[in-house]
């Protein structure tokens, strides 16, 4: 039983929870009360932010302990986690994804590219930042942002 021994010796790897972020909760998040289902949309990112989002949900950062969970369908989701500059091909799918979510819903732009197109500003295939396509409720700056920051943003949404 190698796995059993591994579990015993590893123990808990989740880091102690940092204090709850000071910043206030976005308005729409008030009704969620500690439960947030997250749908990720890659609108044209270089995948750097995706790696960090994945890291935010790993055992070390464990975003799930604050009530956030990744889901497979936007119908189940409250939050769209959008990364990357919005490319022309992804603008419409992004709008549709957010339209598929039921109220209350929030859009969180993750990474510099999602906020102001970053490196890709002015590129021929870039439609614009996420805010140009959809109203953004929360932004997480960084290229890529640290998992800590992503977790902190999610905590502002869940309120835990």
């Amino acid at each position: 039983m190698g796995l059993l021994r591994k579990i015993r010796t590893t123990g808990r790897v989740a880091e102690p929870a940092p204090p709850r972020p000071e910043a206030e909760q976005p308005l729409a998040a008030g009704e969620l009360r500690g439960s947030v289902q997250v749908r990720c949309v890659d609108a044209g990112s270089c995948n750097g932010c995706e790696i960090e989002i994945a890291a935010a949900f790993n055992p070390l950062y464990d975003a799930e302990r604050y009530g956030a969970r990744l889901v497979a369908s936007p119908r189940h989701a409250d939050v769209a986690l959008v990364t990357g500059p919005v490319t022309r091909n992804m603008a419409e799918p992004l709008r549709r994804t957010v339209a598929a979510m039921g109220e209350p819903k929030l859009v969180v732009a993750v990474g510099d590219c999602a906020i102001d197109c970053g490196e890709f500003a002015g590129g021929y295939g870039v439609e614009g930042a996420v805010a140009d396509v959809l109203p953004v409720d929360l932004a997480v700056p960084g290229c890529p942002p640290e998992p800590d920051q992503i977790v902190a943003a999610l905590r502002r949404v869940t309120g835990r």
Partner: protein
């Protein structure tokens, strides 16, 4: 004059009038007149049947009707059950048929021949159980087969497949007749009389080997009529190709008569038999059930699916009959009565839901011209009533509460589970296997009917014809309404049938004492501590459903329900081509049962001319053919073909030679007679 002969006589007169009306009247008047008269036949039969179930009996002889022996008729409760079922189905389907044939034009079912044959066919369905002598039975049986054959062929101008199905049906039904004739003649010779009374009295004088042979011959014929393996091949061809009301009559009334014949000869006339008869019957039933429903789950032709499901349900009934005989052979008569009761109840239930299913499939076919599930879809918004009726009947067919099929399967399972008290290795081995087979067939039936309902009626239309479907006319809906009401009544208050079932079981000589009782609302088995109250289940489900809908509303903030596009992964809107079809739905099951079904598949990749690596076209074809038919029938057909080829040499074309054959034959026969004497 008692009710039974009067009602039967009325049915016969109405049938005669109907046949006449079918021939004489012009197209416009023909269909309503024949429909009403056929419905009258059904009502007459139903009245007689109900009267017989109520406990009255009747017997009579008609010396002049048939040559030599004359015709004998008798009605007891067992016959009454089948008469009543046939009558009810005929009445409802006749009403439906008026609407069905009216829109069809003077071809097909509306044609002079078909309309003239329909009432007599309906009459034979009612009259076969009335027969009380071998010759009467065979005559009526053959008339029924001929009537159904003509009706199956009604649309022969429209599709070549109808003609092919007709040939199959004609050959197989006559093969059945030959077997039946041989078996019953042997029996009559051994028992020293051809009336059923004489057979019953003389059965014990027949040597065991002959009895066994009689049973095997008769059982082959009757199981073939019931659509059970191995002589089932006509059923999945003839039932889909017949006009839908005829399919309904065949699937819901005619196949039952196979069961009737089996119960009548096996349990009543032969008076039961050794265990191997019944083990064989259970084996036939079990394989038919699983194989039939497996083919149904694979079928993408809606009516073929329903036809194979008939095979399945008759298989279940055969398991019940077989178990009954087995228990009786080991001396546990109350349990035998219970198993038979379950089988008969399943016959009734199956008739109700299968007639409704075929009628609903018929209105889909009439409105869209399609039977192919892969091209149907979205009918629930275009044909809401038909879809609702199909759903009600499908609930019965999947054997889940609160459907009517559940009650009889529950009863059947109870009789098998409690059969362990019966000693004997065979029982101990066979019972668990039958339970497993029943369970497997029930599980696959659920998949098959989810497919039929979900793919055929739900989602979005997959073709223009399905998109432009229209609801069926009022008479068709009325016919379906009658059947739907029957399904609901059987599902909710099966106990009402309790007394009748007991009397029907009692007619075979088994103690039918109160296997099902409980004041009409409950099924309570005496001797076995098990009870089922369908009304209670429905009430509890309703209360729970209301709670499940209501409680969240109390808590939730009343947001308005909004409409949204289907989630398309952000791409373009999903087209009907992306939806799962019946074929794709069945694919996992088909892969699981690969070894049983042996599908043939065929992949054909055509590269473009310039390069072998660029593909221009890929053609993929997969067919699940009836493997048993393949393996069993083809060698026989091939052998027949070869024999036919070699026989051609005898036929040189000279008329004198043919006459010579006849003459030689006659002389030979006379010589043989002379020497033999």
């Amino acid at each position: 004059m008692s009710v039974i002969p009067a009602a039967l006589a009325a049915a016969a007169v109405l049938a005669g009038a109907g046949a006449l009306a079918g021939i004489v009247l012009p197209y416009r008047l023909r269909i309503p007149a024949v429909g009403v008269l056929t419905a009258g036949v059904g009502v007459g039969g139903g009245t007689a049947g109900v009267a017989a179930l109520g406990g009255s009996g009747w017997a009579g002889t008609f010396p002049g009707v048939l040559p030599l022996a004359g015709a004998a008729a008798a009605v007891d409760a067992l016959a009454g059950l089948f008469i009543a079922v046939a009558g009810a189905v005929v009445a409802a389907v006749a009403v439906y048929g008026i609407g069905y044939a009216a829109g069809h034009g003077p071809h097909g079912l509306g044609s002079r021949t078909a309309q003239a044959v329909l009432p007599p066919f309906a009459l034979t369905l009612v009259l076969v159980p009335v027969a009380a002598s071998v010759s009467t039975f065979l005559a009526l049986w053959e008339l029924m087969a001929l009537g159904s054959l003509l009706l199956v062929l009604a649309e022969h101008r429209e599709r070549a497949s109808v003609r092919q199905a007709g040939v199959w049906y004609a050959v197989m039904t006559h093969l059945g007749l030959v077997l039946l004739l041989a078996g019953l003649a042997l029996f009559a010779a051994g028992a020293g009389g051809e009336t059923f009374t004489a057979l019953r009295a003389g059965a014990h004088t027949v040597p065991p080997a002959v009895r066994g042979l009689v049973f095997v011959l008769v059982a082959l014929a009757f199981t073939s009529k019931a659509g059970a393996l191995p002589l089932h091949a006509w059923l999945p061809r003839a039932h889909p190709e017949a006009p839908s009301p005829v399919s309904a009559l065949m699937s819901a009334a005619m196949v039952n008569l196979g069961i009737y014949g089996l119960v009548r000869t096996g349990l009543d006339l032969l008076g039961g038999g050794p265990a191997w008869w019944w083990l064989g019957l259970i084996a036939v039933g079990g394989t038919s059930a699983v194989y039939g429903i497996l083919q149904a789950a694979m079928a993408s032709d809606l009516k073929r699916l329903l036809a194979y499901s008939t095979s399945e349900n008759m298989g279940l009934v055969l398991i019940g009959v077989g178990a009954s005989g087995l228990f009786a052979a080991y001396g546990d008569r109350p349990l035998a009565a219970l198993a038979l009761c379950a089988a008969l109840l399943h016959v009734v239930n199956h008739s109700a839901f299968k007639a409704l299913l075929f009628c609903a499939a018929g209105s889909v076919l009439r409105s869209t011209g399609l039977r192919d599930l892969d091209r149907l879809g979205g009918l629930r918004s275009r044909m809401p009533v038909t879809a609702a009726f199909f759903a009600v009947a499908a609930l019965g067919a999947v054997a889940l509460p609160p459907g009517n099929g559940f009650i009889s399967e529950w009863l059947l399972l109870q009789s098998l589970i409690h059969g362990l008290a019966v000693p004997g290795v065979a029982v101990a081995v066979v019972l668990p296997l039958s339970v497993a087979l029943i369970a497997l067939s029930a599980g696959i039936a659920a998949a098959a009917f989810v497919k039929a309902l979900g793919v055929g009626f739900f989602a979005r239309p997959r073709s223009d014809r399905a998109a432009s479907a229209e609801e069926a006319p009022i008479l068709m809906l009325a016919g379906m309404g009658l059947l739907g009401a029957a399904c609901a009544a059987l599902a909710l208050v099966p106990g009402l049938l309790g007394g009748s079932l007991d009397r029907a079981v009692g007619a075979t000589g088994l103690p039918g004492g109160g296997a099902v009782s409980g004041g009409g609302l409950e099924v309570r088995l005496t001797g076995i501590s098990a009870a089922l109250s369908p009304v209670w289940v429905v009430a509890a489900l309703t209360v729970a459903l209301m709670a499940a809908v209501g409680l969240p509303r109390l808590y939730g903030r009343r947001r308005r329900r909004v409409n949204a596009r289907l989630w398309d992964c952000g791409g373009g809107a999903p087209t009907p081509r992306m939806a799962y079809t019946a074929t794709s739905f069945a694919e996992p099951l088909q892969r699981v049962f690969d070894d049983v079904l042996a599908p043939e598949q065929d992949l054909d990749v055509t590269p473009v001319r310039e390069s072998a690596y660029l593909v221009e076209r890929v053609r993929f074809q997969r067919r699940v053919s009836d493997r048993i038919e393949h393996r069993l029938y083809e060698p026989v057909l091939r052998a027949l073909n070869t024999a036919g080829q070699s026989a051609r040499r005898l036929a040189g074309g000279s008329v004198h030679r043919y006459l010579g054959y006849g003459f030689a034959g006659l002389v030979f026969l006379l010589l043989a007679l002379a020497v033999g004497w």
